[in-house]
Every structure is written in C-alpha cells, then in structure tokens.
C-alpha cells in the first residue's frame, strides 16, 4: 500500500511542481504590482494576501477583489494567472485520474487491500485456490458453516462472481496466478491461522504446483487437492497431500456403492449433502441387479470407471465411443450414442442401464432421451459437465446425475467439516445396507429429515475444561449418553447422537448411551445446532457439567439449599452461569417436556 502511494505520488511530481511555480509566480507578481486604496494612496499586497487571493482564484472559488478593488494593471496580471492556474490544476487532476484508471495501479491497490485483510485475519481459515463451479460450491458451504476462507483465482470474472455472491462473511478474494508461491503466501499460506489449502483448479498442473508449494512452505499443513488424471493424483499422493480427490474415481466408487448397498449410498448422500438438504425417501432400489448388461457412451476417464464398477457388479458392458476404441473384453461400437441405430446395435432394448458420459451435455441428454424412448425401463446415469445445464438435467430426471463439481465439493466438505467425520464416512462406506438403514432411521427419528450438523471434540483441558473438571469430581463412570442431556433439565435429551469415539488407537462406532467415557477420548456427534450449543455449555462450564452428570451438590452450590427437583436446580444453575458465561437464549427459550423420571426423554 505504502509503495503504491509513493509510486503514484512520484508520477504526480511534474504537475505538483507546475502548481508550486504558478503559485510562486502569481504571488510575486501580485505583491509587486501597486494598487490604489479607497483613499487614493498607492498600496501593495502583502505576501499573505497575495497567496490567499491566488488560492481562491486558482481553485475557482473567486471571492472577488479583496481587500480593495483592483486597478487595471492588477486585473491584467490576474487574467494571466487565472489561465496559468487553470492549466496547472487541469494537469494535476488529469494525472490523478489517469493514475486511478491505470490497470497496474488498480491491481496494486486491490492486492494491497487483499494482503491487509488477510493479515488482519485472526480466526482459523482455509485457503481456496480456484473458484470454478467446484470452488464456488465449496466456498458457499464454508460460508454456511461459518468458516472463514481466503480465495484466489486466475480468472477475473470468477473473482467478480464471488464478490457479488451474498456471503455472510466478507472474504478476501484476489485475481492472481495460483501457481506462484508468492501469491499463496500473500493469501495467508504462511499464517498460523491457515488450517488447510484447497486446490480446486480445473487444471491439474496448477493443483500440483499448489500442492508442491504448500508441501515445501508449510509441511504438515493439510492440502486437499483435485486431480483429474491418475498420474497427477499419484504425484500428489507422493507429496503427502492430505486428500487427493479425483472425480472420476470418486464417481466409480459411488456407483459401485449404489449397486452394492443402496441404503448405505442414501445415508452417505444425506450425511455429506450441503447443509439444509433433506433425507431422500427410501424407495425400493431402481438400480438393476446382475446379470445384465450396460451401455457406456464415451469411454473417457469417467467411462472407464463406470465400466470397471459395473463389471465388478457382475454386468457385461458395451461401449460406444466416437473414436472407435477397441478395448479387449468389451463390445465396442463406433459412434456417439445419440442415434437409435447405434443404441439398437448395442442392445438398448434389453440393457439394464446406460451411462451418458461424454464431455458434451447436449450429447449426453440426447443419448438419454433416445435410450428412454427405446427402453422406458432402462436405468440412466448422466454426466453433467456444466452447472448451467442443470435445469435440463433436473427436468429430464435421470436415475443418477453426476456433476463433477458437486462430487469434488461434497468430498471436500466431508473432509473439512470436522476432524472425525471423514473417518466415520469411510467406516460407513464399508457397512452393509441393514446397518446403514437402521442408522439412517434412528438419526431421522432423533433429528428430523434435515441433514444434520456435525461436531467433534476431545475431552481435554483445551476443548472441554468444564466437563473434565466435573468428571474428576463426580463419583462413578460418566457415560456417553450424559453428553446428550439438556443443561436445563438433565432428564431431557437434546437432539444429538454420538457417532464415533476414538480412544488412543481404538475406535468405537456408534457408542451407546451406557458407554463409559474417559479423559482424552475424542468424540464425533451428529445433531442439530441447538444441541451443539447445549453441549458447548456443558463442555466449558464445570457447574453445568456437574449438574448434567448428576452431581447435585455442585450445582446447588450456586443457589439456595434444598427445594426443587433436579430440573429446577438445573435451570437456576444455567441462569447463574448465563450471567457468568455467555448468552444461551436459544437454550432457555425452548419449551421442554419435563418427565418426572430420571430417564432420558426426547424433546425437539
């Protein structure tokens, strides 16, 4: 910023000197030319009066001839200095305007502002490189989750698109070359608050360059990178990149899972969906079962993955490719797949499914429409390349639509949301349908149809000081279910559920309410935001934690001795802690169904 100021003022030297000279000349002239005062005596302006007159005349204020009306001699000179000063000011203003319109200057100003706002960031943030469809989707979800980020992209239009996006937090965005390490460090790579780098460019080389810079400049910083080609994915993995997402591979896995365990696929889709989406109804699976055969149109990266997935599922595959590729072990037909003749040749009437996977959205839709006309029951998977064609794809209603940007964004968010979630999702992927179905149903009973929030924490002094303190005081084991108790009435249950517990190297999936907890455990929860707020209170405030864990004495220490059941004491304890701690209006305003028993009851 400073250097920008200095450089621009350097370019204003000539007009500034011209103005100084005009002022000096005018002042000297006005002082030397004699005037006549009202009494008829000759009179000379002082230097101050002259400077004053020139100042208001040159700036076109024009207070008139003071202190006395001028003589003709003076007026002649003033005529000259008016023109001189106008030239001086016009020159200066013109120079200022041309500097302000200078592209280099504007860019310098914008980068200076960007650097300033990045260095002012005091909260943890992610560095997002690449603001294409994928980047924008990720950024929207980050914003929704209240996570800060900085973003860079080479394309000015994309940066502008983000700037007009209605984000709740003002994020620093810059147009710059993402490959340059200097750009990355100006976007906060070296700041300790930077929690991770997301390399989401369309271009594999750029992503690799980002991964290398991050690996060298900030070793051990998580880098989540997109890699379209397997070679680049392998190089990134060799660098120690935290997570490499290759969309085609990811999609192959999705498809395989959808064929093997439709309910697991449905559960995963729900858990990883963007906040605010709903659990799809559990319909009888439409996905075909083996034996049968699939038609794959377009044998590119995605086509390869789909063929591999359906073959693992026990199907035969026929490929239709415009290049006329011959792949051993597959029936290969030359063509685009949009014509009825090609589709008939591939056996569309008897096929179980078809994949429209070329990199042209119109062709994919044409394939799908033709296939559905020839075989109304065929299972259709479409590849959608551009977000802008989503109206057509939604209207068509394929059985599965894969959008590259969506796949990457979903994976990214699943990794970023909270530390243990990725581990839990990996575990879910290996589970069977029944396990997933029962988990989905119990989560839905507890939390409703809307996609849950996730949070995780460790029972350690840093993250759960109050809970740790209370655990030391309370006699008997502390159970996982105790963490789902309401801070207002401990027999009530807040809508949340423990998904995973990690103790050292041991992992416990879905710990039940009776599972005993220990200090140092790490837990992953799914639930509503209100439940998270409730739990934050329990974790931080030792008195609330003691009440929730069932130790009456500690909670009653704050209020009058005796009287009331546990529930009332709890309310007062929270009221006291509210003054001491932080507002919990949302918690207190809820109407709770108080059951007399000590057992957990559900309240929403």
């Amino acid at each position: 910023m400073q250097s920008v100021f200095l450089l621009s003022i350097r370019r204003l030297r000539a007009p500034l000197i011209l103005i100084i000279l005009v002022f000096a000349f005018s002042t000297v002239g006005l002082t030397l030319i004699p005037g006549i005062d009202p009494a008829g005596r000759p009179w000379h302006m002082t230097i101050f009066e002259a400077v004053y007159f020139v100042a208001y005349t040159a700036t076109t204020i024009g207070f008139g001839e003071i202190p006395y009306p001028f003589t003709d001699q003076q007026r002649l000179f003033v005529t000259v200095i008016i023109y001189l000063s106008v030239i001086g000011w016009a020159y200066l203003l013109g120079s200022i305007l041309s500097i302000a319109q200078d592209k280099a200057f504007q860019h310098a100003m914008v980068s200076a502002r960007f650097r300033r706002s990045v260095s002012g960031l005091r909260e943890p943030f992610y560095l997002v490189c690449g603001l294409g469809e994928t980047g924008l989707t990720v950024v929207r979800v980050l914003d929704h989750l209240g996570t800060r980020f900085t973003a860079i992209d080479r394309d000015e239009h994309r940066v502008q698109a983000l700037e007009i996006e209605a984000l709740s937090l003002d994020a620093p965005v810059l147009t710059a070359d993402v490959r340059s390490p200097e750009t990355l460090s100006s976007a906060g790579l070296l700041k300790p608050e930077c929690m991770g780098v997301l390399a989401l460019c369309n271009d594999d080389e750029a992503n690799l360059a980002i991964a290398i810079s991050a690996c060298l400049l900030r070793p051990n910083l998580p880098v989540i990178s997109r890699a379209n080609s397997p070679q680049v994915a392998a190089s990134m993995a060799a660098l120690g990149t935290y997570r490499v997402i290759s969309p085609s591979h990811e999609f192959g896995e999705h498809l395989e899972l959808a064929m093997r365990a439709p309910d697991t696929h449905r559960l995963l889709g729900w858990l990883t969906s963007t906040p605010g989406s709903y659990l799809p109804p559990s319909l009888p699976p439409r996905i075909p079962v083996a034996p049968g055969h699939w038609i794959v149109c377009g044998y590119g990266r995605y086509g390869t993955q789909v063929v591999a997935a359906v073959q693992r599922g026990g199907f035969n595959a026929t490929i239709i490719d415009p290049a006329g590729l011959q792949v051993a072990g597959l029936r290969c037909i030359r063509g685009t797949g949009t014509g009825a003749a090609e589709l008939r040749e591939a056996g569309v009437e008897t096929a179980s499914g078809i994949f429209g996977g070329t990199d042209d959205d119109t062709a994919n839709l044409a394939i799908a429409i033709a296939a559905r006309r020839l075989n109304p029951n065929i299972f259709i998977i479409l590849r959608q390349n551009l977000q802008s064609s989503s109206v057509l794809f939604t209207k068509f209603g394929a059985d599965m639509t894969m959008v590259t940007s969506q796949i990457i964004a979903t994976e990214c968010i699943a990794v970023l949301r909270t530390p243990l979630l990725a581990a839990f999702l990996d575990l879910t992927r290996r589970k069977d349908d029944l396990w997933a179905y029962s988990l989905a149903e119990s989560l839905r009973d507890l939390l409703g149809d809307e996609a849950p929030s996730f949070w995780s924490f460790a029972i350690e002094a840093g993250e759960a000081p109050g809970l740790l303190d209370a655990m030391a005081r309370v006699a008997g084991p502390v159970r996982a279910g105790d963490l789902s108790r309401s801070a207002q009435a401990r027999q009530d249950r807040v809508p949340c559920m423990a998904l995973l517990l990690v103790r050292g190297t041991q992992t416990v999936e879905l710990p039940d309410d009776d599972f005993p907890l220990e200090a140092g455990d790490r837990l992953l929860f799914a639930g509503r935001r209100s439940a998270e707020d409730n739990q934050v209170l329990v974790r931080r405030n030792a008195n609330v934690a003691a009440y929730v864990l069932g130790e009456r004495r500690a909670a009653e220490g704050w209020v009058a001795e005796g009287g009331g059941d546990g529930g009332e004491v709890g309310v007062e304890a929270v009221m006291v802690s509210r003054q001491l701690f932080r507002p919990v209006d949302r918690l207190l305003s809820g109407v709770h169904d108080r059951a007399g028993s000590d057992g957990l009851t559900r309240s929403r």
């Binding site: 200095l6 350097r10 370019r11 204003l12 030297r13 500034l16 000197i17 100084i20 230097i47 101050f48």
Partner: protein, 127 residues
Amino acid sequence: MNLEKVVYAFVILLAATLNFGFVYGGIDDAAHHHVWQLFAATTVNMIAVVLKFGDRTHIGAVHQASGLVALLQLAGAALVWFFLAPAGGGPMSDVALSSIVSLAAGALLANIVSVVIMIVDTTIQRR
C-alpha cells in the same frame, strides 16, 4: 549528462543557497533578512520535496526526510513572520526576527544534510 539530474541537483543546491542567504547576517538585524529571500527559500524547498518523492531506497528515504524537515522549519519561520509582523508595515521586533532566523537556520542545517546526501549518493555511483 542527464537533464533530469541537472534539474534535481540544481533545485537541491538552490534550496540550500537561498536558505543560507536568508540566514546569513546578524540574527536580529532586520537589514540582513528580507522577506523575499524567505519566500524564495520556502518555494524552492517545496519543489525540492516534490522532486524527492517516490524514491524507495534507504538513502532516498533519508533524503526525503531531510527535505520535509527543512520545509517544516521554513513554514514555521513564515508563520512567525506572518503573525508577528507589525500591522501597517515597519521593522520587525528583535525577538520576532531572531526566532524567524533561528527557525530558518534549522532549515539550513537540514538542507546541508540534503546536499551532503546528494554528494555522497553521486560519488558512490559507479560508472
């Protein structure tokens, strides 16, 4: 020879010489210090400050600072002159004149620093 460098050295030297011309003489002797000399010194110092804008080297920064100090001192001297000049003309009082001249003498010191820096900067240039 470079015209830009000639102008630069000319202005900086002129700022120092004009300043010296105003200060030279008995400190409270009104006959030795004329207001036009102060006016000229201030104007040329202003131009010198503008010419020094935008040099990002360390020596450039010191140069700029010395110019600003000189300008500040001269502006102070001009203000004292403006406020203490007797209404309706006539000679300055001794007290007023000595404070004006001592302010201008401070500016002279800054100008000498400026000239020295310019000479040093010139001699360390390798051709």
